[in-house]
C-alpha cells in the first residue's frame, strides 16, 4: 500500500506536472492497450514496423545526436543484425528467440569495427566515410550469392510468434524497453560525457576523458540496438534482403533523426511514429500512392523550414518554459516555478531590455 501511494505521488509530482512527460506516458500506455480495443491486422502490421524502425532511429540518435558521430551508414548495423540472425536461424536451425541476440552481438562487433576505423575522422569526413561501409557490405553480398542469396536475400525465416497481436507485442515491448534504456543512458553521467565529446572533443580529452573508449562504446551500443531492430524486422517479414543495407535506409534514418530533433531520443521516435504511418497511409491511396515518397520529402522540407531544430524541440518549447532561476522545465501556463517558486515570466525592465538583458 505504501509502495502504491509512493508511486502515485511520484506520478503526480514528477510526470503529470509536465505536459511532455504526460504525453510520453499516454503514448506508451496507448501503445500497450491498443490491441485490446482495436486489433485490425493491417494497422497492427504498420505499428509493428513503426516500433521496429523507432528502435533503429533512437539508436542512430545516441550515436549521431549525442556523440556527434553523424553516421551516414547506419543501415550497416541494421543489415548486419538482420543477416546474422537470419543466417544463424536458417542454417543452424537455432530458435529465433536466441538468434536475435546473436544479430545484436554481430551488429555490435560491426559497430566497434567501424568506430575503430573512424576514430580519427571528424565531421563531414566521418559522415561520408561511414556512408561507404554498408555499400561495401552490399557489394560483397552481391558478389557471393550462394551464401547471402544475392538480390533475393535470405528468405523463409521462422517468425518469433504466430499471430499479428503477439508479434505486435513483441515489437512494442522491445521498443519501449530499448528506447527507455537508451534514454536512461543518454540522461546518465555517461550521456553527459557524450555531450562533451560532441561539443568539444579536445576539451573533453583535456579533462581526462578517454574519448576513444567512449566513442567505441557508443558505436557498439548503438549498433547493437540497430542490429536488434534489424533482426526483429527480418524475423517479422521472414526475409533478410539487401534492402536492409541500402543507401535509402541510411538516409531514411538521418531524415527521421533530424526531423524529430537530434540529441533527444524521443524526437526521432516521435518522427518515426508520425512519418512512417503517414507514408504507409499515403501509399494506400490509388492516385497518390506513387507520389508518397515525393509528398514525404516535401513535408520534411516544409517542416524544416519552420522548425529548423526539429519537431520535438519546437513542440517542447511551445508547451514548456524554462525557469529563469533554477533552469527546470515548467508547464507554460504556470505563473511560478513548480520547484523554486520564482516567477516564470522574468520581470524585464525597460533599461535592461535596451542593453539586451533578457
Amino acid at each position: 500500500m505504501y509502495m502504491l501511494r509512493r508511486a502515485w505521488a511520484q506520478m503526480t509530482n514528477e510526470v503529470l506536472v509536465l505536459p511532455s512527460r504526460t504525453m510520453v506516458l499516454v503514448w506508451a500506455a496507448g501503445l500497450l492497450l491498443l490491441p485490446l480495443v482495436y486489433s485490425d491486422a493491417y494497422v497492427l502490421r504498420i505499428l509493428t514496423m513503426t516500433c521496429i524502425f523507432a528502435i533503429f532511429a533512437a539508436s542512430w540518435d545516441l550515436l549521431a545526436g549525442y556523440t556527434g558521430q553523424v553516421n551516414f551508414g547506419h543501415a550497416l548495423f541494421f543489415g548486419a543484425g538482420a543477416y546474422a540472425s537470419a543466417l544463424a536461424s536458417l542454417k543452424l536451425g537455432v530458435s529465433p528467440w536466441l538468434t536475435i541476440w546473436l544479430g545484436a552481438a554481430v551488429a555490435a562487433l560491426f559497430g566497434y569495427l567501424s568506430g575503430f576505423l573512424c576514430l580519427r575522422l571528424r565531421g563531414s569526413y566521418l559522415s561520408l566515410a561511414t556512408l561507404a561501409f554498408p555499400l561495401i557490405g552490399l557489394g560483397l553480398l552481391f558478389a557471393f550469392p550462394d551464401f547471402s542469396g544475392g538480390e533475393l536475400g535470405v528468405s523463409g525465416l521462422q517468425r518469433l510468434i504466430i499471430g499479428p497481436t503477439a508479434n505486435y507485442y513483441v515489437a512494442c515491448v522491445s521498443m519501449l524497453v530499448i528506447v527507455f534504456g537508451l534514454w536512461a543512458i543518454a540522461d546518465s553521467r555517461f550521456g553527459i560525457v557524450l555531450h562533451a565529446i560532441r561539443d568539444d572533443e579536445v576539451a573533453a580529452r583535456a579533462s581526462g576523458i578517454n574519448t576513444p573508449r567512449y566513442k567505441l562504446t557508443v558505436f557498439a551500443l548503438s549498433a547493437a540496438a540497430a542490429g536488434f531492430a534489424g533482426a526483429l524486422l527480418a524475423h517479422y517479414l521472414r526475409v533478410a534482403g539487401p534492402s536492409t543495407l541500402e543507401v535509402a535506409l541510411s538516409f531514411q534514418v538521418v531524415i527521421w533523426g533530424i526531423f524529430g530533433g537530434v540529441a533527444t531520443i524521443y524526437g526521432p521516435v516521435a518522427a518515426v511514429f508520425i512519418l512512417y504511418p503517414l507514408t504507409e497511409w499515403l501509399g494506400s491511396f490509388k492516385h497518390i500512392g506513387e507520389l508518397r515518397l515525393l509528398i514525404f520529402a516535401v513535408i520534411v522540407l516544409l517542416v524544416l523550414l519552420f522548425m529548423p531544430r526539429g519537431l520535438a524541440p519546437w513542440v517542447r518549447d511551445k508547451i514548456e518554459a524554462l525557469c529563469p532561476r533554477c533552469k527546470q522545465r515548467n508547464f507554460v501556463f504556470r505563473k511560478k516555478c513548480r520547484l523554486c517558486g520564482a516567477p516564470l515570466e522574468a520581470q524585464v525592465t525597460r533599461a535592461e531590455r535596451l542593453v539586451g538583458h533578457q
Binding site: 569526413y125 561507404a132 561495401i136 552490399l138 558478389a143 522540407l301 524544416l304
Partner: protein, 289 residues
Amino acid sequence: MLQDILVTGLVNGGVYALLAIGFSLIFGVARIVNIAHTAFYMLAAYCFYTLLTRGGLGFTLAGVIAVVSVVALSLLCYRLVIEPVREHEAAVLIATIALGLIFQELMLYSYGGHFLGVPSTIDGVVRLAGVSIPYQRLLILVVAGVMLAATWLFLYHTRTGLAIRATANDLEVANLMGMNVHRVAMITVGFSVGLAAIAGVVATPVTSVHPHMWLDPLVTMLAIVVLGGLGSLKGSVIGALVIAYVEAITVFTLPEGAHLKGVAALGIMVAVLLARPEGLFGVAFEEER
C-alpha cells in the same frame, strides 16, 4: 584489355572529376554537404533527353538549354530551401537529401522507372594505337578536359575566382574584407551545378537515363572527395582518376567485377582515410576545432 582499362578509366575519371570538383567547391565555400549534387546531374540528363528526342532540337542547343535551366533551378532551390536554414547544419543536410528525393520521385512520376537511351551525339570511332575509341567517349574526354581548364582559369585568373578561394579559405575574414559572401556562395552553387549538368549532358549517351541514376555517382563522388580531401581541387581530380582506374581494373580483371567495383573503390577510400584522415590533399584537422 589494357587499352580498355586505360580508356574507360580516363573517360569515367573525367566525368567523376567534373562532379567531384563541383561538390568540393560547394563544400569549401558554403560548407554545404550537397547530397542533391548528382540529382542535378540526373536532371540535366533528363532535360537533354526530352529536348533531344521529344523536342527535336539539335545536340548543341539541347545541351545548352539543359545546362542553363538546371543551373537556374539549382539557384532557385538554394534561395528557397537552403538559405533559410543555413545556420542549422543538420537541417541543411536533410534539406539536400529531401531535394534529391523530390527530384528522383518527380522524374519517376513523369517518365516512369524504365531505362531511357539517348542516341549517340556523334557516331563513328577513331583508331588510336590499335584501340578503337568511339567519338562519343572522346567527346566526353575533351569536354571534361576543357571544363577542368576553364574551372582552373576561372578560379585562379579572375576576381570572382579569387573571392571564391578567399571565402573557402576563411569565410569571416573574406566577409570583413568586403566580399559579398552570400553572392559568392550563389555563384559557387551555380558554377558547380553547371559542371555537374555538363557532365550529365555529355555522359548520357554512354549510360542510360533512369530516376535512380544519381545514387551510384553520388557514392563514387563522395568517395573521391573524401579520398582527395574535402575542399581541395587538385585532390578531387587525382581522386577521380584513382577511383575511376580502380573501378575499371576491377571490372575488367575480376570475374564478379561489376559487383565488386564499388567495394574496391570504397575500400581504397577507407584505406587512405586510415593512413591520412584528412584525405590526400586535405587540410589537417587540428587547425579548425
